[in-house]
């Protein structure tokens, strides 16, 4: 009898050992972002719900994440599940097709619960569903202090002329019409110029440039730069904004230093109540009654009115080296489905991380993040985010050029010439 029990125990141990799957996960987590604790709990819950899967997790963030992913890819030792960008930031994964096609792994029946933009393979550099974007990010949003405008006798602006009209009165009171903190260079391109160029030059212009059919010195692109030039010349954006760091914007806007604040949709997270102090930069009640999220106003010379720069967000990918039909593949798919489940997406949504691409996710939100779905619905037409389609060697010149235009040290024409030169130099390296 004793021998029988021991044998049965040994078989049970052997079977359970066989069924146990270890998944290596390279997680992208930022400890000082709202929702960090909730994110940690999400992973712990998966582990508790799936005792047959052991998660071996490595957590990195920012450049170190990308460097490590690059090293893993070079050594052929990619983790089983990892975090991927839809574009150039994760180029090695896309170009070498190192991840499984989630379209096939998850199947159309599962993917029907996600927005078309998220499941469209064309929105990813690899041309297939390398990762499933958790969000679709709008990079140019006007955060409008409606009460401040009203108190000064202004309605919500709809056109460039409306903004221009506000300048004398607000300037006299020391209030900026539209604040664009651009000390870091990229906000000018990502949060303003991508939309301006999308409306004046259009996505096709960028496609044509990349195909060698157009040049940055062409009228469309120069005109787009001229709009930025006039925003500064007319005093709508102050030249001193180029000395405001990106991190300073939300606080300055909350303290009434500007009527409008230009930033990406992700910045709603800055206004969520701080757990440590129980306070928010803008009181939630005031957020609801006195503030609005709006697209950039109609601009002079628009060919494509109403478009706003947006880009597919980041998401999870599964290593292409996992054998098809294996227990590991099943475990990875289970993890992916859990991470994109309504329950998990609702948590991420409620912490202000993003608005999920999963349809029908509901969460209790503070007023500003709660305005985002309405913003998306009202502004369905999107354009490229420039740093998503051009190489850093080119878009960094655009970023610097926009700062110079803001400072009044370079003209639109000069910047356009510099961008074209940078593009040609970059193209030469690709031959």
């Amino acid at each position: 009898m004793k021998k029988l029990i021991i044998a049965a125990l040994m078989i049970a141990v052997a079977v359970s050992a066989q069924a146990q799957v270890t998944l290596k996960v390279l997680n992208y987590q930022q400890a000082d972002q709202a929702g960090y604790e909730e994110d940690v709990a999400i992973w712990e819950r998966f582990q508790a719900l799936n005792p047959d899967i052991t998660l071996e997790m490595e957590v990195l963030f920012n450049d170190p994440y990308h460097e490590k992913l690059q090293a893993y890819a070079a050594a052929g030792t990619l983790p089983d599940v990892f975090y991927v960008w839809p574009g150039a930031r994760s180029a090695v994964i896309h170009e070498k097709k190192l991840a499984k096609d989630l379209g096939k792994l998850l199947g159309p029946d599962y993917l029907k619960d996600f927005t078309g933009a998220a499941t469209n393979p064309r929105n990813q550099l690899g041309g297939y569903l390398v990762q499933l974007p958790q969000s679709f990010t709008y990079t140019s949003v006007m955060y409008v202090n409606v009460k401040l405008l009203k108190d000064n006798g202004f309605a919500i602006p709809k056109t460039y002329a409306d903004l221009k009209k506000m300048v004398p009165k607000l300037k006299a009171k020391g209030i900026a019409v539209m604040m664009l903190p651009n000390k870091d260079g990229w906000p000018g391109q990502s949060c303003l110029f991508s939309t301006v160029a999308g409306r004046i030059a259009g996505d096709k212009f960028f496609d044509d440039v990349l195909a060698g059919k157009a040049k940055f010195t062409d009228r469309e692109f120069v005109n787009a730069l001229k709009v930025v030039e006039s925003l500064y010349k007319d005093g709508i954006i102050q030249r001193s904004d180029n000395s405001i760091g990106y991190g300073e914007g939300p606080g300055l806007f909350a303290s009434g230093k500007a009527a409008i604040f230009l930033d990406g949709d992700w910045r709603t997270g800055a206004y969520i109540t701080d757990k440590a102090s129980g306070k928010a930069l803008i009181d939630p009640k005031a957020q609801a009654s006195d503030f609005a999220l709006l697209p950039i106003v109609a601009l002079p010379g628009e060919k494509y009115p109403g478009v706003n720069s947006a880009v597919a967000g980041t998401g999870w990918a599964v290593s292409g080296s996992i054998p098809a039909g294996s227990a590991k593949e099943e475990a990875a798919a289970r993890l992916i489905k859990y991470l994109y489940s309504e329950e998990v997406q609702a948590i991420r949504y409620s912490t202000g991380a993003y608005v999920p691409t999963r349809i029908g996710v509901k969460a209790e939100l503070e007023p500003l993040p709660a305005m985002l779905p309405g913003f998306y619905a009202a502004n369905p037409k999107t354009s490229y985010v420039i740093d998503g389609v051009l190489d850093p060697a080119v878009y960094n010149v655009i970023n610097d050029g926009l700062v110079a235009i803001g400072n009044g040290t370079k003209s639109a024409t000069v910047v356009a010439k510099e961008v074209q030169a940078a593009f040609e130099a970059w193209k030469a390296t690709k031959k």
Binding site: A31, D32, Q33, G247, L281
Partner: protein, 288 residues
């Protein structure tokens, strides 16, 4: 008449020296403020809530809180990372000093035909940047089967510290009179005895310099350890701090607290050993 002229010259000299002193103090004071103010600003803001920081970036905290430190310690898992930082720093420093001084002795005092080639092959490492080595090193430790081990980290840290270590040690030991070594040889001493009894005691200044360089660089090293380990149990402090650094960060309080936690040990190290550090740097700056 002559006395009057001398007095005028002396007065002018005193005025000139006072002005020069004032200028020197002004320049040094400016640099001191430039160095200390960011540290003060960071420490001060680490006691503010994120909300308070966003509306009061320059003022003193109105309602100081330790919550940022508690949360940063927990989220950064600093309790696990601190011991590793000590292990890597002490291990790598000891390894680099021991091997550099030994190699320096051999290169400087036991010349052979191949010495200059071997010496050159080490010293050329000074010119290599960490970024060029990251992926090859990752592949190497993976093939050797030591990825995710403390051994790999220590081996790489010691290897990375050797080029500058060997260069400084060799140049320093070259300055020690060769006659001392030759006399000892005539008296029948072996090279190991000569090293232990003569070279090592005389090489203390360069060893101190190496210790200072190695301690600072290993304690703050980030790029290599990021590549060499994935388990939190093996990571060091800079990896924990980096979890808090982003231009898109929204929780500045925790970010600043994490930076203060990371900065504090090095500041304490400097305060405790400032005299030795100053002496060591000065000793390393001149050949022995």
């Amino acid at each position: 008449m002559k006395t009057e002229a001398n007095g005028r010259i002396r007065a002018r000299g005193l005025l000139g020296s006072a002005l020069a002193k004032a200028a020197a103090y002004l320049v040094m004071g400016t640099f001191t403020v430039m160095t200390l103010y960011p540290l003060f600003w960071l420490t001060m803001n680490s006691f503010k809530t994120t909300r308070e920081f966003q509306v009061n970036m320059l003022g003193l905290p109105m309602d100081p809180t330790l919550e940022n430190f508690k949360m940063a310690w927990k989220f950064g898992e600093f309790g696990k990372l601190f011991p590793n930082s000590f292990i890597y720093t002490i291990g790598a420093t000891a390894g680099v000093i021991a091997l550099s001084v030994l190699a320096g002795f051999a290169f400087a005092k036991i010349p052979r035909r191949v010495t200059k080639w071997i010496y050159g092959s080490f010293v050329v490492g000074i010119l290599l940047t960490i970024n060029t080595l990251m992926i090859p090193l990752f592949i190497e430790v993976t093939i050797l089967g030591i990825y995710n081990t403390r051994l790999a980290v220590l081996l790489v840290y010691v290897g990375a510290g050797l080029p500058i270590g060997i260069y400084l040690s060799t140049e320093y030991i070259r300055g020690i009179p060769t006659a001392l070594v030759e006399s000892a040889r005539i008296d029948g001493a072996g090279y190991l005895t000569i090293f232990r009894r003569i070279i090592l005691p005389m090489a203390t200044p360069v060893a101190t310099t190496l210790a200072i360089l190695q301690i600072c660089s290993t304690w703050n090293e980030f790029a290599l350890i990021n590549i060499l380990v994935s388990k939190t149990e093996l990571k060091s402090l800079p990896l924990g701090i980096f979890k808090f650094s982003s231009s898109l960060s929204t929780d500045y309080g925790k970010q600043f607290a994490a930076l203060v936690i990371g900065m504090a040990p090095m500041l304490l190290f400097y305060v405790a050993f400032r005299k030795q550090i100053t002496r060591g740097v000065a000793a390393g700056a001149v050949k022995g």
